[in-house]
Amino acid sequence: MIEASPSGDAANFTFAPLSPEFARDPHPTYRALREKEGLHYFADFDIWLASRFEDVSAIVMDKRMVRSLEDIATVEELAKLQRDANWHDMPHHERFVQFSLLDSDGAVHDRLRKQVFKLFTPAMIAKLRDQIQAYVDRLIDSLADRGEIDFVDDLAAHVPGHIIGRLLGVPDEDCPQLRIWSENIVQFFDVDRSDARKEIAERNTTEFYEYLTALKAERERAPKDDLISVLIEAELSGAMNFDEFISTCMLILMAGHGSTIDVLGSGMHALLRFPEQMARLRNEPGLIQTGVQEMFRYESPLPFFHRHCVEDVEICGRRFERGTKFGLLYGAANRDPKQFDNADTFDIGRTPNRHLAFGGGVHFCLGNHLARLDMDIIFSTLLRRFPTIELVDREPEYKRGLSVRGPKKLKIALRHA
């Protein structure tokens, strides 16, 4: 089935990524951007946006494109950028959130990524299958007779944080608090940079830091088979310092929450919007892996990332100065008809499906296999247990912003017959 969206007007359109219209459906805008020549300059963010698959993948693979401005801008320029973003005067946020594995490059990035990579490989993640299944079974048992649920709040929101918490070594009962801290810190990245949100982000970063410091001390006394204990070893061996330890734990917990919840929500919404695809998945449960891949392509949960060039570069026939900021619109690239046949069609059997939802290059999403396994288990279990799943609210509201994509709530009915 092809989604009925109006064709974008390439010459004349408004790019308003914080608008309710964009939240409702960003794809007409993405289409219009793809049809424009070259990159699109978005003055509000002082950024050049790439939307075609070819351009986005070229930038993401380009070794001259980095995340951090550290080696490009002067100390004064960095301080000004930080003030402009309202990211100044927040000491713990600056220490543990503004610096991270995600926002480092080169040797520092390689060293930090190496400390955690092995725990996120397919073989390691596959070992979690039974405990994720057991957790999901219990959660669904508790919801099974309610008839109607909010798929986002009642189900999706509980799973990724719980599992990433266990992997890291956080006690189960603390996971809900960690989710609140994570969401409050992540929200300050995008939509609302007000002083009120800033105060919450800094306070929650401080609480998060104090919590992790205490947990670290506990594991130092009695190590366990968890990621915190692995990172303690890394610190002892000199492979990371204390701030990097805290920052890496926070990043893993934050990255392990929101985006998987969002793509669970949009993936379920897609299955309900295109019931023939849900029926196909019921009849052929073996399609779950390609189905999950397609959910990531169809509504990429983190549709926007940035890079800076460390030297002058030429893209689409235009020269850009060292330090220029580029926006990578993964959500647009993943619907590019030059890369994907029937790009607006949700096809759970699509193969190959070389999408960019996990990014690319050295910053390729570390937790991708875990996210996919969470989704595999949740969707497979729901389809197995409920012969009928229906959308209750026909027009669920999606989150606002350029950096996120997912429904705020998704009211669904689960029926035993």
């Binding site: 993948s57 990579f117 490989t121 073989a123 596959a126 390729f364």
Partner: protein, 106 residues
């Protein structure tokens, strides 16, 4: 153009023409070898372009560097013939290279 032979886990054999200077991974992806997922695009960051090098070709290829060795430990079913295809550059000397593909990358 050097010829590369890819053999699927089920035994299906396909020959492709590769360009000198491109990676073995790119040659596979461009020629529709779907068993090479290569999700990170060739940065030795995902371990999904894993393949097994046939017979005596193992010794004829330059040895894997440290980062590739590290990553090979993390792929599904590694053995002494395992390589990451994104780290192998096609050259005239590789004409006739035979590459076995794994049953899956996850």
């Amino acid at each position: 153009m050097p010829k590369i032979v890819f053999i699927d886990a089920d035994g299906t054999t396909r020959e492709v023409q590769a360009e000198i200077g491109q990676s073995l991974m790119s040659a596979a992806v461009q020629n529709g070898i779907d068993a090479i997922a290569a999700e990170c695009g060739g940065s030795c960051a995902c371990g999904t372009c894993h393949c097994y090098i046939d017979g005596e070709w193992v010794e004829r290829l330059p040895s894997p560097e440290f980062q590739e060795q590290d990553m090979i430990e993390c792929v599904v079913n590694p053995n002494e013939r395992s390589r990451l295809s994104c780290q192998i550059t096609v050259s005239a000397e590789l004409d006739g290279l035979v590459v076995h593909l794994p049953a899956g990358q996850y």
